[in-house]
Symmetry: C2
């Protein structure tokens, strides 16, 4: 290797894209504390606190609540490989990228995915789900995305779960972008399996995926006739390490420093309070909306189901999408997101997640857009 490399000093960006979001300075500090062993009694005590703080964030009493040692996509996979056996039917609601990914997960487990499709940018339709449930009385589970990061749509998790439960289905929820930013009540809404990410409204570094499984989900896992196809994500094995009691069996080496960071970010959420955090995300969203409207920009998603933490903004005609984003990044150190799939070139995705959801960022973003769009 002839090239000479040197230490990487990243630029100081303001992260207002679809994630990662800006990380709390205290979280970065926690991240850099000295590594200790993954079986050290002090680390085991930290793990218990992380579990307890996650139970608060998810609003659940589920014992099986912990972070998977990998990003949200692995959390998604953890849920599906544990709950879906070959031949199992899962109804998957799709109104964006991540519903599609759920379908692929079901199919890679040998399951059969029945899709309920709605237009990208619209909410999942309850009546369409009901039709699918009527047509598939043997469906084992209903899966949907709570906050579709690809479009900026909030699905009605409470109503979708209630409907699924009327048909005795397990409920599987993607809460990657909702956790901490939008109202979410795992126990009250009867969610059986849920996964999230650390790099969105928790304002922690990317790389971990908090998950939670209800007692009913655990029953379904215990009733499996085939082994879980993933060794790394087999919850039965994972719980040997994350479970209760002093005796923790080695499964894999936990990402110790990332867990310091997650602990710190969950502590910040707990100290602010969930209700306050949801309210703050909504307030700053309304402020952004008002600022964008003054520039003549429109939000792409209907008001009733707009996400506060991920704002899809219509790109005005004759505006070069990539050029605007490049200017914001290079001249303003401001990252906003591009549209995905059918929305590429049609929308920008402006995130207001976690600690990035504040009035200063709203002003900075609106002013920068004002300059660049002149």
């Amino acid at each position: 290797m002839s090239t000479t490399f040197s230490s990487f000093i990243p630029p100081k960006r303001i992260l207002m894209g679809p994630g990662p979001s800006d990380v709390y300075p205290q979280v970065l500090q926690a991240l850099a504390r000295p590594t200790i062993g993954h079986l050290d009694p002090q680390f085991v005590a930290l793990m218990d606190e992380v579990k307890s703080l996650l139970q608060y964030a998810f609003q659940t009493k589920n014992e099986l609540t912990m972070p998977i040692s990998a990003p949200g996509s692995a959390g998604m996979e953890a849920v599906f490989v544990n709950l879906v056996e070959p031949g199992d039917k899962v109804i998957v609601c799709q109104n964006g990228v991540f519903g599609g990914r759920m379908q692929q997960n079901v199919e890679r487990c040998g399951g059969v995915a029945i899709t309920v499709e709605d237009e990208w940018g619209k909410q999942t339709s309850l009546s369409k789900l009901q039709e699918a449930l009527e047509a598939n009385p043997d469906a084992k589970a209903v899966a949907f995305v709570h906050a579709e990061t690809s479009t900026g749509v909030l699905n009605d998790a409470e109503a979708l779960c209630k409907l699924a439960k009327e048909y005795n289905c397990l409920t599987i929820v993607d809460a990657v972008t909702s956790l901490g930013g939008s109202e979410l009540k795992v126990d009250e809404w009867q969610i059986d399996a849920i996964y999230s990410g650390t790099q969105k409204c928790l304002s922690c570094v990317p790389g971990l995926s908090p998950v939670s499984f209800s007692p009913l989900a655990i029953e379904a896992i215990k009733a499996r006739k085939t082994p879980v196809q993933s060794w790394f994500l087999d919850m039965d094995l994972v719980m040997g390490y994350w479970g209760k009691g002093a005796k923790r069996a080695y499964h894999h080496t936990a990402p110790v420093n990332s867990l310091y960071a997650l602990h710190e970010s969950l502590l910040i959420l707990k100290n602010e309070g969930l209700q306050e955090s949801w309210k703050r995300h909504q307030t700053n969203h309304l402020s952004l909306k008002s600022g964008l409207e003054k520039l003549g920009l429109e939000l792409a998603v209907d008001e009733q189901y707009r996400l506060p933490q991920l704002n899809s903004v219509r790109i005005p005609e004759h505006i070069d999408d990539a050029e605007v984003r490049a200017k914001l990044l290079n001249d303003y150190n401001l990252e906003i997101g591009a549209g995905l799939g059918g929305l590429a070139g049609k929308v920008w995705r402006i995130g207001l997640m976690g600690c990035a959801s504040n009035q200063k960022n709203v002003d900075y973003c609106v002013n920068a857009l004002n300059d660049v769009l002149k």
Copy 2:
């Protein structure tokens, strides 16, 4: 939740167990730098450097060389789920915990594992492997662990690969504990798929798993008749993000800060030089050996195939294993490892990995043991 938690301040340990090892202070500094987007052009440039530095560490020109965004166990799984299809026969050499885990991986992919078993603490026998290869001319691959962290044995990777190649098998190598600490030459030794971890001789934080696949391994992946069962670990999808070219497709959100850390640790390795690092691990191992012998302690593994970075030490009779380790941890902030499986209670595992492999640590450990064993 009634309990009040506060920020977690870990104790300052000296990590001389089986990993994680002590992390370079510069690596912790790099880890805590501000997060940027996973599609930021500057981050994409960093990814290219990480790939190039990993090629150096692995001594390979393999294009498909990158870190999996999860710990070593996921790296292991990435290798098996991509290379093993239902019905494929894989010869798995077992002389410790991790060979057993390889077998489970093969079986969870629907493959057939043919095991070559040697006693824990002994090397994998070439003649036994040859017998297995003769008896299974349809074997697709041979898999083994280079450095068995559970016992402290170095398997002869070069000879095992050479033999496997005589029978046209793909070679799969676990290099979790060897990378950076023991001689390892992926291209020269004809290794087709290899995975490692960041928390051993690289002295980086735990949570990532560097992998590399040869052109022959890629051919085997391309020739698959069935989809890879894991979406998260499907190398074809992963490479859409890590591959060459300006256009990186979103797959999952990379663990941005952990990659800063890996970059820094690989840079340190590159600056020291691989040969120098291997030599340093050997020198400090010999020094530890000599110190332990002065205390009347013996290494458990035969000299010809002892690992320098993981020293299995026989626990003297009438000594309480757990009590000694607890004293070392609590009174000396020194972590050493327990024995696993059949070696539990019989050996301690003293790691000298990465930046923890230095004379000061050797002296500290020998003196602490001297005090505690008095």
